[in-house]
Symmetry: C2
Subunit: 284 residues, 2 copies
């Protein structure tokens, strides 16, 4: 594996790989790699002859009062994990490499970015789509891998790729959970032992929602209330939103006719976590 810091290095490595006829896979991350990321990397490794992982804590997707400064950074450890996972290139650019002086071009998906995370975190998705557009242009991958934990992000990226005719395919990968159900997230490291225990109510409430759905519940409002009521029992967990929406448009639905996604965002102390579950015919 090569650890590279510049766009030119990525381009020249990709050129060689292309000439060898290799399929290129990109796994964009903000580092602090956990089993969720490693699942994305393994999927890329199976599907592609050349795997690039980017580690970049992208400042443009953080709001002014968010956790950019304290976001966990562990490049050495990340590099070790990537090496073990058979990654070809780990691309860890500086902020200046990605956003040089005078940078001022933005890619923005409207509509589905204005709800849920987009409402709670203004400007967040504009930062995400802009940095992903850049990473796609730099790596020119055939496939890029995103986890379903960040469900809205996945849908926003898919829409960007479709609307702008970007020549790659987005591969979506199931959320990876700790044995006790907590969705893996680099932000879990912020939690104290008590907070971590309390945070379990999020995934537990989603599992309860799935159970209700499997048992025949189709009323979105009742599913939403079921989750809210469970979470409210934990005094140190504060709901930002609980939403039952159409899986593509992310618009609220009243009745779960075919499928829905249930999304939760909540604060546990100073830590904001998100999680979601898809309700469809695959739910047993």
């Amino acid at each position: 594996m090569r650890l590279v810091y510049t766009i030119d290095e990525v381009r020249s490595e990709v050129r060689v790989a292309r000439e060898l006829g290799k399929t290129i896979g990109l796994v964009p991350t903000m580092g602090a790699l956990h089993e969720g990321h490693l699942t994305l990397i393994r999927r890329a490794r199976e599907q592609c002859g050349f795997v690039i992982v980017s580690v970049f804590v992208n400042p443009t997707q953080f709001g002014p009062s968010e956790d950019l400064a304290r976001y966990p950074r562990s490049l050495e450890e990340d590099a070790r994990k990537c090496e073990q996972a058979g990654v070809d290139i780990l691309f860890a650019p500086s902020v200046e490499e990605m956003y040089p002086e005078g940078f001022d071009t933005w890619v923005e998906v409207k509509g589905i970015t204005e709800v849920l995370e987009g409402k709670s975190r203004p400007g967040h998705f504009r930062g995400v789509t802009t940095v992903c557009a850049k990473l796609f242009n730099i790596s020119q991958p055939n496939y890029a891998y995103f986890g379903m934990k960040d469900y809205q992000q996945l849908k926003v990226i898919q829409k960007m790729v479709r609307d702008l005719n970007m020549p790659l395919e987005i591969v979506q990968v199931e959320t990876v959970r700790e044995p006790d159900g907590l969705a893996m997230s680099s932000r879990n490291s912020y939690l104290s032992a008590e907070e971590r225990q309390a945070a379990l109510v999020i995934s537990r409430s989603l599992m309860e929602a799935r159970k209700a759905f499997t048992d025949g519940e189709r009323n979105a409002k009742r599913v939403q209330e079921l989750i809210s009521n469970l979470i409210k029992v934990e005094p140190c967990v504060h709901i930002d939103y609980v939403a039952v929406v159409d899986p593509e448009s992310l618009r609220p639905i009243q009745t779960i006719d075919r499928s829905a996604v249930v999304l939760v965002a909540a604060w546990i102390g100073n830590t904001r976590l998100i999680d979601n579950i898809v309700l469809d015919s695959a739910c047993k």
Copy 2:
């Protein structure tokens, strides 16, 4: 030459050309091809093994009160000219092909789009950058060709490519003029005989500005006044702006130390024309 209407056809033709090791050149146009466009095409033909011309009157770059409906359309004639010029693919998509139902992703360059044309035509450059990003992603060219007549557009596209790390090079090509000096533009066809005669004051005033610069004039305000005063003599020409700016930042300058661009936008009846001239050491 193949005339194609769908994105898929372009992609599959480009794939074959790439496999043959050919360099891809793209000339994005709105059709109504004139000698200015043909100069771009010839340049592409010299430099590339595979030349794509797109003809698409892009609705998103027209304001609600602008000339989208009456913009000249002449695909048959355009196809004949492209065929003669040795173009490989003429891509003439429908509006639905480029902007399907639900389309809502935009590429926006800030800063240099907020002055001059951007000020007079709100939203114009967002439409231009978005459609160019799409055309670049569809064609994946090594080179894309733009004329200097639309100087600000050229700078905006160059900035988009640089900021978003798009894997292509923008080639800028000198403005082509009629024998009497009028900059070639598809919009010249709107002019009556008298208007066309009056419109000559624009290029004539720019030539006078160049002469003054060559004779030693370095005061931007005096250059600007020289042009304004000449244009004001024509009663049916109304100035939108006359600006003397830095060639890269497009910010107004006071003294022409090294180089400058002088840009003019003016109305002749219902027709809005733009023109410009670069003042630098190459001016003799």
